[in-house]
């Protein structure tokens, strides 16, 4: 575990007692819905995003639906991925507002995005001068693969011939047909792309094309073009754990594909509900971004 994870883990056990007490009291005094669930191993290691505090606990054997495929339905959130949501690649040096972390890239082994030189320069320039361009600041969806590791987790549904995933964050969704259809024509570019899925044994393989270039991999400006092509693999290993991998190709931006990998953890909070998350309706942040970051406001606080 890196230093950050160790600290979180130590704090988690120390806080267990106070959170349990506070949660119980809050649950007693407040109306529906319930306060965050009490922590502890018995709850299956609910990820912190869902209010859990214990470490992740493996579940039981994979259950299957009547169509023979693994039942992955429920609420999931990304487990430890080296701070990918801040920066997807290896980021050993702290940057303003971004703690160091290994990121989620497992290939290449050094963990860095294999950018073409012009693209590496552009990513750096974006971080230094254009953070006001961050897509989520403008309430855009997060694209692929970032949607998988954004905050607040997601819900998986498995109706007939589809896997559908919904996110509270930005009220995003991805529809993955598993009926073997072809992709839509390449002229149509979408924030979440066009996904087609198929099962290889108990692994859901999702092929996504038709992505536009208006999303980032993270919050610091790592980016892709509209040639991005992502193949994701979701393998449920137990009822609380999905192994997630994604191979990303982008001939306009990268010198070679890269691969990310981490686990997804399930919430065992049976009362959890995702709620509506409107965004542009109340979005004020973009107006405060200062000119040195690509915004319109002057820096007044030094």
């Amino acid at each position: 575990m890196d230093q950050q994870e160790e600290r979180i883990s130590r704090m988690s056990s120390r806080l267990l007692k106070s959170i349990f007490a506070a949660a119980a009291l809050a649950a007693m005094l407040s109306a529906q819905p319930p306060a965050p669930p009490a922590g502890g191993a018995a709850n299956g290691g609910v990820p912190a995003i869902f209010g859990g505090t214990g470490p992740h606990v493996a579940g039981g054997p994979v259950q299957h639906l009547s169509d023979g495929h693994p039942d992955m339905q429920g609420f999931w959130a990304a487990g430890n991925n080296g701070g990918a949501v801040f920066e997807l690649q290896n980021h050993p040096k702290p940057r303003s507002g971004v703690p160091p972390g290994k990121g989620a890239i497992v290939d290449p082994a050094d963990g860095f995005i294999p950018y073409q030189p012009w693209a590496a320069a552009k990513a750096t320039d974006t971080f230094e001068h254009n953070l006001a361009e961050e897509p989520e600041l403008h309430c855009y969806e997060s694209g692929v693969p970032k949607q998988i590791y954004v905050q607040f987790g997601f819900q998986i549904f498995q109706p007939a011939n589809y896997v559908v995933v919904t996110w509270e964050f930005m009220h995003a969704y991805r529809i993955i047909p598993t009926d073997g259809r072809a992709h839509i024509p390449t002229d149509i570019k979408l924030f979440e792309g066009d996904s087609v899925g198929h099962w290889e044994g108990d692994t859901l393989v999702v092929d996504t094309t038709n992505l536009n270039d208006r999303t980032w991999y993270d919050t610091v400006g790592n980016f892709h073009s509209d040639s991005e092509h992502v193949v994701e693999r979701f393998t449920e290993v137990d009822t609380n754990t999905i192994k997630y991998e994604a191979t990303v190709e982008d001939s306009k931006v990268l010198t070679a594909p890269f691969k990310i990998a981490f686990e997804l953890y399930k919430s065992s909070d049976t009362k959890y509900e995702q709620m509506e998350f409107a965004c542009i309706e109340g979005n004020q942040d973009v107006t405060h971004y200062t000119k040195d970051k690509g915004g319109n406001a002057d820096v007044k606080v030094k």
Partner: protein
Amino acid sequence: MTFRFAVLSAGAGLLLAALPALAHHSFAAEFDVSKPITLKGKFVKMDWVNPHSQIHVDVTGPDGQVVTWSFEALPPNVLFRQGWRKDSLKPGEEIEIEGFQAKDGSANAWTRSVKTADGRRMFAGSPDALPPGAPPAPTK
């Protein structure tokens, strides 16, 4: 006395910071993380809006002028799950609110915590804008 929100210890607040709720956009680009500010004032109202709730506070300056500050907080869905309710703070209530000021110098800030007159502490952002394990807030 009734309190309708989860009273969390400072440590628990740090656990909240472990939630990547602040990865929604680059926090340090908008707010000055190098020096937190603490203001005392009267709670006016709270906008329960996504993506960020807004806590409005009337702060009387040394010159006697009242400025209404807007302190940004976590999304209402998250606050609600933590136990916050729309009547958790009463209009006119004296509160102490701590946060990071917007770099554009406007009367806007990110909330670290809210303390009520009877000493209850509530979290609407996080007590530390940077996740645990991060180095001290840089001055850049």
